[in-house]
């Protein structure tokens, strides 16, 4: 024990000195000063003051979008496919928790596998792909540089999707690495990592060859995410070296960072681009966005062990994660100030832009999910909510109500600008919005209320364990209703996507000649 504490103190010292040196270097070379005009990088050459609410009038005026169009379209199409399939598995798993004798005849349809299929298909199939599509659309735009090596992501998309399908098949047949969020066998993970290289290389190349000096805040999040996720994914999946409780800390270091350092930067970065872009005005306080980004990197990266509070892991590492979870208030408030104030001062844009409705709603849910997460990590709260369905509600507030809903808006905004034509059925977009928002509200409140009651029942030694199971049933039924509404929304989304793809070519607007 003394060795460990001495080691930690020594390391903290070294790290602090390094950080100080870095800070002095950054100040001396003016790395962290930002020009007033930097926040306007999103608007392109024409500058601020032009809301982007009409889908087609800005169709490919720079010639940049047509290069990114093909990989972006392929990734979005594949992502929506996995969204629908993954949601159906989610509903199936949900139904099985209150109809336990439904579809028990075959192993692939048992709850433990359907739930796992749901998680892996929506994380790797839907969220990661649609997020990468958004990065490939946005980065060339904020760098005013056409995507480099645009053929590579197409190869990446083929490998990625075949591997996600193979991973699904592996889980369905019981071939799994057996840790939450890391179920896809490591042999297949090698292919995912390879596809990841094919996605990341062109974007880093685009960043390095960019034609603007400043990297806009969205770029920080995206470039950070492209460093973090490959590292997390490879370390956590290294076969053979993790075991026992050390494997459990690695597991939750990874799993929470998938949310914190991969899906969150994708969602926050996307919102940071589209909110000012659609409204036509820069974000409220560009300097504060620095705090939001580095705060996220520093604090979010160390919260993972709050999943093991009260468990067989060293006390200090649990406490470290609890402290960092609470510190997350700082970057979250910084992002909230920027994004929500910008939207609140321009509510007219919510009426004019359906994509902005999704994105602004999703951004708001980021604030809620993070506040909830910080409070949930407190020992006194966690003792009730840990091991209950409350956690599932919280996970969906982050990964679904925040990231997924931002991505819906992103796709609705990108597609008309990518194809030069509007969505055929704007009514379906409205229906999609209300189905997922109301469905999610039912989902979230059912699991949150039920989860607290479940937790209280389990803490009370005078009540048999059975009570905690029985009292959950109506809440689990409500969750199935909410989840089905969300899935129906996803089906409308997919139909509308197919509609805009198959629209008659004559309806397309003529592209403006590239400058």
């Amino acid at each position: 024990m003394p060795l460990t504490i001495g080691l930690l103190l020594g390391l903290s010292f070294v790290v602090s000195v390094l950080a100080l040196a870095f800070l002095i270097w950054a100040v001396a070379t003016r790395q962290i000063t930002m020009q007033k005009g930097d926040a306007a990088t999103v608007f392109g050459a024409e500058g601020a003051g032009h809301p982007d609410v009409d889908g087609t009038h800005l169709f490919d005026t720079t010639g940049i979008d047509r290069i990114s169009a093909r990989p972006v379209l392929v990734l979005i199409a594949a992502a929506i496919f996995w969204l629908v399939v993954g949601s159906l598995f989610g509903v199936g798993a949900s139904l099985k928790l209150h109809w336990p004798d439904w579809l028990t005849g075959s192993a692939p349809l048992t709850f433990g596998r359907m739930r796992t299929l749901h998680l892996n298909l929506v994380i790797y199939g839907w969220l990661s792909q649609v997020g990468i599509a958004g990065m490939m659309w946005i980065l060339p735009r904020i760098f005013r540089t056409p995507l480099k090596m645009p053929g590579l992501p197409l190869a990446g998309a083929v490998i990625w999707n075949l591997t996600v399908a193979a991973g699904g098949w592996a889980i369905a047949t019981g071939w799994t690495d057996g840790e939450e969020w890391l179920e896809i066998p490591w042999q297949l993970d090698i292919l995912l990592a390879l596809a990841g290289v094919f996605f990341v290389l062109p974007m880093i190349q685009t960043a390095r060859k960019r034609e603007v000096h400043h990297i806009y805040v969205t770029g920080w999040y995206f470039l950070g995410a492209m460093i973090w996720f490959p590292f997390l994914f490879i370390v956590a999946n290294l076969p053979g070296i993790h075991y026992g409780v050390e494997e459990a800390t690695t597991n939750w270091w990874f799993a929470h960072n998938v949310l914190g350092l991969w899906l969150t930067p994708l969602g926050v970065g996307t919102a940071y681009y589209f909110i000012p872009k659609i409204i036509g005005k820069p974000v409220y306080s560009y300097a504060v966005s620095l705090l939001g980004f580095w705060g996220l990197a520093l604090f979010y990266s160390q919260v993972g062990i709050h999943h093991l509070i009260g468990g067989p892991v060293p006390t200090w590492v649990v406490t470290l994660s609890v402290v960092h979870s609470v510190m997350m208030f700082i970057p979250v408030i910084a992002v909230a100030v920027n994004q929500h104030v910008t939207v609140a001062r321009n509510t007219w844009a919510l009426k004019q832009s359906l994509p902005l409705r999704f994105i602004a709603f999703g951004a708001l849910m980021y604030t809620f999910a993070s506040f909830q997460g910080s409070i949930e990590a407190l020992r006194s709260v966690n003792t009730i909510t840990h091991f209950t369905h409350y956690t599932i509600g919280h996970a969906h507030l982050g990964a679904y109500a925040f990231v997924s809903i931002v991505m819906f808006g992103s796709v609705y905004h990108i597609m008309p600008r990518l194809l030069g034509r509007e969505f055929a059925w704007p009514g379906l977009i409205r229906a999609h919005f209300w189905l997922v928002v109301l469905g999610f509200a039912i989902y979230f409140f059912a699991l949150s209320i039920g989860g607290v009651l479940q937790g209280l029942a389990m803490l009370d030694a005078t009540r048999p364990f059975a009570e905690s199971v029985i009292l959950m049933k109506p809440y689990l039924e409500a969750r199935s209703i909410g989840g089905s509404m969300m899935t129906l929304g996803h089906i409308l989304f997919a139909l509308n996507f197919i509609g805009i793809l198959l629209a008659r070519p004559g309806t397309a607007a003529k592209p403006v000649v590239a400058e």
Binding site: A107, T110, I215, G224, A297, L298, D460
Partner: protein, 206 residues
């Protein structure tokens, strides 16, 4: 911020630091603890059963980490003493779990040591607990007209028994049961036990 490389390096450095704190340092600390002498490695059959447990996703409803009495009445429910890091040295992949839709199973072999009970419960949990929402696993069993020598017949109440013939456990069910029965960490915790004592300090420390 206007340069890619410093951004990338610092972003990477921060995550490397987090990895040191959450993965490497606890890993070093855990590895320095000795294995409890009473904890035995899994036998071949138990390991096969553990693979069933992992493959069927039991972990999504069952934790394997009893809490301390400072925090929760896990001990009073018969789930065992507070788990310590050394209890898991033979576990790969770990199955600590984050959910208790069903009860904790780290000591289920000590709490429910009957193979017949486990087989009935796996075939149809509601044959034992009407309120249970655990999946039934009929695909781990087969229905035969009559038991053959060496078959393990599952004991079932009439309402859950097949109309004709008997339910016989397949090898997978027998393996899974062997693993469940091996789950027994009732030996005393080692003196240098490592676990989250945050709740104990909350009560005595402040």
């Amino acid at each position: 911020m206007n340069r890619y490389l410093p951004l990338a390096l610092l972003a990477f450095g921060i995550l490397a630091f987090a990895t040191l704190m959450l993965v490497i340092a606890p890993g070093v600390q855990i590895a320095r603890h000795s294995v409890p002498p009473q904890l035995e490695p899994y036998t071949e059959q138990q390991a096969r059963g553990r693979a069933q447990y992992v493959g069927l996703g039991c972990v999504y409803c069952h934790s394997q980490q009893p809490r301390s009495p400072d925090q929760a009445p896990d001990g009073e429910r018969g789930w065992g003493r507070p788990a310590v890091a050394a209890d898991y040295v033979y576990d790969q992949p770990h199955q600590l779990g984050t959910m208790r839709t069903g009860p904790d199973l780290l000591n289920v072999g000590a709490r429910l040591p009957s193979e017949a009970w486990q087989l009935t419960h796996l075939y149809q949990p509601r044959a034992i607990f009407g309120w249970s929402v655990m999946p039934a696993y009929p695909f781990l069993f087969e229905i035969k007209p009559a038991a053959e020598p060496g078959d393990t017949v599952v004991v079932l109440p009439e309402a859950f028994a097949p109309e004709a013939g008997v339910v016989v456990a397949r090898q997978e069910a027998l393996d899974l049961t062997a693993y469940l029965l091996s789950l027994d960490r009732t030996y005393p915790a080692p003196a240098d036990a490592l676990r989250d004592e945050g709740y104990a300090t909350m009560e005595s420390g402040s």
